[in-house]
Structures are given as structure tokens and as C-alpha cells.
Amino acid sequence: MKALDKITVLACEQFEAGTTGTELLAFLGAEVIMVETPGRGQPGRWSMATPKKGIDSWYHIYLNLNKKSITLNLTTPKGVEIFKEMAKKVDIVFDNLGPGTMDRLGIGYEALKAVNPRLIVATLKGFGEGPYSDYLCLDTIAQSMGGAYTLTGFPEKPPTMPAETLGDTGAGMHGFVAMLAALYQRDITGEGQFVEVAMVDNSLCFNRAPLALRQAEKDPMFTGAHAKRVGNDMPGASPHGIYKTTDTEKTDNYVAIQVVDQPQWHALLKVLGKEDLLGDERFKDSASRWENREAVNQMVEAWTSKRSAQNAFHTLAQAGVPAGVTQNTNQMMNDPHLIARKSVVEVDHPHYGRFKTLGCAPRLADSPVEVKCAPLLGQSNAEVYAKLMGYTQYELAELAKEGII
């Protein structure tokens, strides 16, 4: 059994923000049916690098695991009619198309609610309702508007984009949880509802801590100076950052260390062989260490720079000091911990063969996740249309001929 067995989702998606949210639903057992344009599919399939025309991009494959794909031409009246008919039989209709698109197609919230009052209609937008609602939004735009750029990087460099595509994938995860909350509410009340998540709101949500830490202590109404980029520092706390190892020159691997409290500081001193500093006033709390951070950092790096990144990481972590390695993408996809816990898994694809991808972050003991490959375009037409519309192979062939599917 899985948590979302028997839940069916019709997903009208493009690129990443939408697809990552419904992928999580699929991992937990929902039947997620991507509704795609005949012959083209959603743009993530082909607008990112692909080995040749007609082969899905990795981008598409990573973001659409465990889903089904059907084709349907929503610009035709017959296509719209079929969509509405299917909407009567599903639990969630989800989209991340441009603002107003679903309404224009005649399958907006009001139209769908009329045919299925239990339906949850969820939409993921760039800016969402508000003064900027019609402005175009992509990952980088959402990240810049939510503060990710201004808070990332070095003071002497311009604002910097984080590696994570937090504007898109972050919004997807927020869409996922918002749909689940609506689903639970429906379990109790029997009624569906409209759910909205905006990429820019999502982006801002991840910055609550830096917003609070770097400014609000002195200026709760945000009327004064803004926060400055601090590289790998956390003002007021030390040690916090990355330190050179014997691997740094060759592999660019540093060890990351953050000491949160006194017991961890004492554990670190023992690892460094500096027990004589256990009672030292200069290092008696986080604030004092921040004042003396140059001495702290020198002491730490004198130790790390004589060890490999892996050795420093395990030695510190086993002593109870929060530590990590700045792993590159290949190292993380081969990390024994991530593989053991199935955060990194192997799956087969009909074109590419066996490949590595990521599993499901939320783990439920009673809802095991089997990761399955992303579907080819229209792969599930026969199965899904038979189930939701009662169409025979013959009828499907007719619809294909007319360009409806």
C-alpha cells in the first residue's frame, strides 16, 4: 500500500516547477497523468539538451519519474470536452501553464468545479495574484525577487545565483504540500477547493532565517540598511565555513565545518589536539569566537590542510562536530550514504539504458517508494483513456487521426 493509492491527478505542466511537485505525489503512490500536446509533449522534453530530436532530455526524465503520459490537444473543442469528462473522475487537476491559460482553454477552476465539486484545482504561478501577476517568471527571476541572489556570494562580487533551482523545484515542493493539505481537508469535508502557490513566495520562504538573522534584530520593520553578502560566514558565529584539505588543489574539495554550541566546540578542540584552550576566554561562546575568528580559522585550517577531505569529514563528524565535504555532482551521485538510503537510485530508460537519478525526499514507513522511469510521450494513452473514458484502441486511432490525441 502507498499513501496516495487511488488518488488520480491530471497534470498540465511545463518545465520544472509543476513537474517536480507532481513527481512527489507520484512517488507516494498517486496516479499522475501528464496531459501533453500531441507530437510535441511538454517543452521540458525537447527544449533542453537532447542527444537527438525525439529523445527526451535528462531534464525531463529526472523531473517526471513515476508518472504517466497521455496526449490531448486542448486547443480543440473535442480535446476540451475529453479533459472535462476526465476531470469528473480524478481528484486533482494541476497546472503550471502561463497566467490565465487554463481559463482561456475553458478548463479553469470555475468550469471544472461545475463538473466535479470534489475536485482540487491547484495552480502554480510565477508571481501569483497581485501587482506583478502578468509578468513572466522563471527560476532565476523567482530567485532574484525572493532574495536568493542578494544573500549568496561574496561581498566584493555581484549578487550570485545559487546552484539549486530553488525558484522552480522549491515551488514544486510547496505545490506538493499544498495539494496534500487540500486533499486531507477533503477527506474531512468532502469538498474540493482552489489552491495556489507562487514561485516568488516560495523563494522568499527559504530566506526567513537570513532575513531574520542579518537584519531584523536591529530593524524589525525593514526601514534601514539591507543585509550584505557574507561569503561562507555567519556573522556572530564561528567556526562556520569551508577549510582547505590536501585534496583542495586537485579536486576542489574543502571540508565544511559549523560549530553550533559549546559541547561541539569542545569536541572540535579535542580533535584538533588543543585541549589547553578548553577554558580560554577568547573562545568561551559563539560571539567571542566570532570576535577572534581569525585565530579560530587558522587553528582549524592548520589541522584540515594536513588531511584528505574524507578523512577530515569522518573524523570530525564521528567526534560530534557538524562537518561535510563540498562534494561535486559526481561525488554526491556516488556517495555511499545517499546510495544506501536510496536518495540516489538507478533506473532503466528505453533509450539511455541504466542511469542514476534521485529518489523521494519525504520518507513514509508504510508507503514504500519504487522509482520508475519517466514515460515517453503518450506512452499511457491506451491504459489511461480506457480507464477514464472507456475508449477502445479503434476509437483512439480515430482520435489520433483527427489530431486530438
Binding site: V177, D201, T251, W290, S343
Partner: protein
């Protein structure tokens, strides 16, 4: 039912950010979230936050604990453990992030509590999750290092740098909220609770899906290469405005389609610029090939540099080109879009006075969010203990005298 989670009760035993984030999102949607804190001290986020005042809760704590209740209970005392167990019989969720094995060490592990209450959902967030590194300590910095975010953020001539957004801490909180909601939905069908977990490292990893696909596109699907993907400074150059020197705000433009590039050139009065080269190279190559990107960026910056940030933003956005500003923290919290959408709201705190805070990205039609301030330590002892443990005021006075509450 006026809110999605109105009938749900949560006992949250948490520190710092990840579990507090999951609990806060549940509280926004109507759950009664009771923070169980050590008497006299509370969650270390109340005071261990850099720059926090000595006599009041930090803004860091306040931002992450809106809409909750607080009770005090000493879980290191047998009587405290007994009281917690009694209360766990009457709630739906126990949510914790005290660190690997800490709850079990106090006699409050999943097995113990679920035997008392088979409907209970027991939710744990740890730095690494179950697996080889499960007992290692960790923080947001460590997770961002281990999951490849730092290695891919910043500039080739600089060391790896931590992204400002709390992708690990807040991200794992969001995933945990999703896990709990899925488990609540599953419980509606099975009548049984379950154990759910997620890791701070997994949250970062799952926001790295796209960089991972780029790093393996067409050549290394099993990640056997040496270097992995490297930091490039980001695919878009931030453009200066007339105010960048003072407010650090730059313009981010992602014109990835030919018509967007044409629109942008119209805005800056350079119609036809690089027309043939653009046509030959394609819209993405323009952003990546220095031979084209350098003159292209110069032309755009020549225009943005003589305008202020919001003027450039609105003008370009209205021309249907994806554009954002690297808003600084002061601008974010005063931006008319966020304020109109109530993504940023104003709340009053009994000690800190009026303040501005980010709220939640989840907008459910039938579960309106009213933002309430984070509780003072032990503020709700009387109410919660009366309801969940049946204690009178006298009972509480006695427990206080022996230091249990």
C-alpha cells in the same frame, strides 16, 4: 471546518529551524501545534541566534514559530517523560528534530509512542537520515556542502560558497510537512499512523535535480567522470542599475527565446542588434558564447545603468521578457507585490512590538491564514495541560515547584 488542519494536534519537540518550519506550516493551516520546550530555556533558537537580545526572543525564533503554542516540560526527568507519553495519546503527530537517537534515549522513541497511540504519526528530521552517516551531526551549511550546492555556487576563481537560502533546513521542513500530510491522508483510509522521516541533506539534493541533469547530459549518465559540474558564476549576468552601488540591486534578465530577445532590444532601442549572429547561433548560445554574450550584455547594461531598479524591472516585464531584480532584504520586505499578496505581513509581539514577517507560500481557498505571533516560552501551559493532560492550576504549580514544567 474553516481550516484544512483544524482538528489536528501536534506536539513539536524541536530546535532551530527544520522541524519548526514543518510545524509552522501546519499551524498556518489550522493545526494546533504545541511546542514542548525545556523549562527556563526553551528552543535554543530563542536565544542562540547571533545578535539576539538577551532579554527577548530572537526574530529568528519568531519568524519560524508563528501561530504556535508553547508549553514547558523537562523531558530529562521521569515525570516529564510520563506526562509527554500521556499527552502523546491525545495528539495526531509528534514532530521532532532533536538529533539522531535523542528522543529514543529519553524513552520517547517511535515504537514506545506508537504502542500507546497506534494512530500517531511520528515525524523525525535528522541531518543525514537513516544510512551510513545517520549519527553524524549536521546543519544547513553541511547539507549544502554534501549535496553539491556549494561546489556549484559562485565563481571559478573563488572557493565554493554557500547559497544564502536555507535550502536544507527550511527545505527539509517543507518535505516533512508533505510527509506528515500524506501520512494523515493514509490514516484516513487505514486508521493507522506511521513513522515518517526526511534528511536535511536530502532536501538540498532534491533541489539539485537540474544541475545534476546538466552535469550528465549525453555523456556521463552514471556519473563516473572526475570533476562533475563546476561553478560558472551563473548563466545570466546581473546588470547594474544607476543605484547598484548604493543598494546592491541588479537586474536579472532571462531572454531565452528569439521573440523575447527581440522585445528586449525594442525596449532598449537596439532593434536588429546582432540579428544575423543570433539567428545563426540560437537563443541559448547567445547567453553562453562570450563572443556574443559580451557585446549583448554590454548593450543591455548600457540601458539598465541609466535607470533605477524598479523602472528597469517594470519596463522590461511589461514587454513580456522574463526579468527580476536581485532585491535586497529591505526591498523584499517592502515590495508592493509581497505586501499585497500577504506574503509579507505585519504582526505584533508582546516584547518586540510591531514587526514584519514572511508568511506561507500555500494559499488554499478554504483554509484562510491568519498570522499570529510566536508564543513566549510556556505561554500556553495552563490551556494545553488542562486539555491534553487534565491538569488543574494546582497540579501545574506543584509541577513547576519541582522543575518539571
Amino acid at each position: 471546518m474553516a481550516k484544512a488542519l483544524e482538528d489536528i494536534k501536534v506536539l513539536e519537540v524541536s530546535q532551530y529551524e527544520s522541524a519548526s518550519t514543518a510545524g509552522e506550516m501546519m499551524a498556518f493551516l489550522g493545526a494546533e501545534v504545541v511546542k514542548v520546550e525545556p523549562p527556563g530555556k526553551g528552543d535554543p533558537a530563542r536565544y542562540a541566534s547571533p545578535g539576539a537580545p538577551k532579554d527577548a526572543d530572537s526574530m529568528y525564533f519568531i519568524y519560524l514559530n508563528l501561530n504556535k503554542k508553547s508549553i514547558t516540560l523537562d523531558l530529562t526527568k521521569p515525570r516529564g517523560v510520563e506526562i509527554f507519553k500521556d499527552m502523546a495519546r491525545n495528539v495526531d503527530v509528534v514532530l521532532e528534530n532533536l538529533g539522531p537517537g535523542v528522543m529514543a534515549g529519553m524513552g520517547l522513541g517511535c515504537d514506545v509512542l506508537r504502542e500507546l497511540n497506534p494512530r500517531l504519526i511520528y515525524a523525525s528530521i535528522t541531518p543525514f537520515g537513516c544510512g551510513p552517516y545517520e549519527n553524524y551531526p549536521g546543519t544547513d551549511l553541511i547539507a549544502q556542502a554534501m549535496a553539491g550546492a556549494m561546489d556549484n555556487t559562485g565563481f571559478p576563481d573563488k572557493p565554493p560558497v554557500r547559497p544564502g537560502p536555507q535550502v536544507g533546513e527550511t527545505g527539509s521542513g517543507v518535505y516533512m510537512f508533505g510527509a506528515i500530510m500524506a501520512a494523515l491522508h493514509q490514516r484516513e483510509r487505514t486508521g493507522k499512523g506511521q513513522f515518517v522521516e526526511t534528511a536535511i541533506a536530502d532536501a538540498v539534493l532534491n533541489n539539485m535535480r537540474v544541475p545534476l541533469t546538466i552535469s550528465q547530459t549525453g555523456r556521463d549518465q552514471m556519473y563516473q567522470g572526475l570533476a562533475g559540474m563546476k561553478r560558472t558564476g551563473g548563466m545570466t549576468q546581473p546588470y547594474r542599475t544607476m543605484d547598484s552601488d548604493t543598494n546592491d540591486t541588479y537586474v536579472i534578465i532571462l531572454a531565452t527565446a528569439p521573440h523575447m530577445q527581440d522585445n528586449l532590444l525594442k525596449v532598449i532601442g537596439r532593434e536588429g542588434f546582432l540579428a544575423e549572429e543570433r539567428k545563426a547561433a540560437g537563443p541559448i548560445a547567445l547567453l553562453l558564447d562570450p563572443k556574443l554574450s559580451v557585446p549583448w550584455n554590454e548593450a543591455i547594461e548600457a540601458w539598465t545603468k541609466s535607470r533605477n531598479d524598479y523602472e528597469a524591472f517594470h519596463t522590461i516585464a511589461k514587454a513580456k521578457v522574463p526579468v527580476g531584480l536581485t532585491l535586497n532584504t529591505t526591498q523584499i520586505m517592502n515590495d508592493p507585490h509581497y505586501v499585497t499578496r500577504k506574503t509579507v505581513v505585519q504582526v505584533a509581539h508582546p516584547v518586540r512590538g510591531e514587526f514584519k514577517t514572511p508568511t506561507t507560500p500555500h494559499k488554499l481557498e478554504k483554509s484562510p491564514v491568519e498570522v499570529k505571533c510566536a508564543p513566549l516560552l510556556g505561554q500556553d501551559n495552563e490551556e494545553v495541560y488542562a486539555k491534553l493532560a487534565g491538569f488543574t492550576k494546582e497540579d501545574l504549580a506543584k509541577l513547576k515547584a519541582i522543575g518539571v514544567v
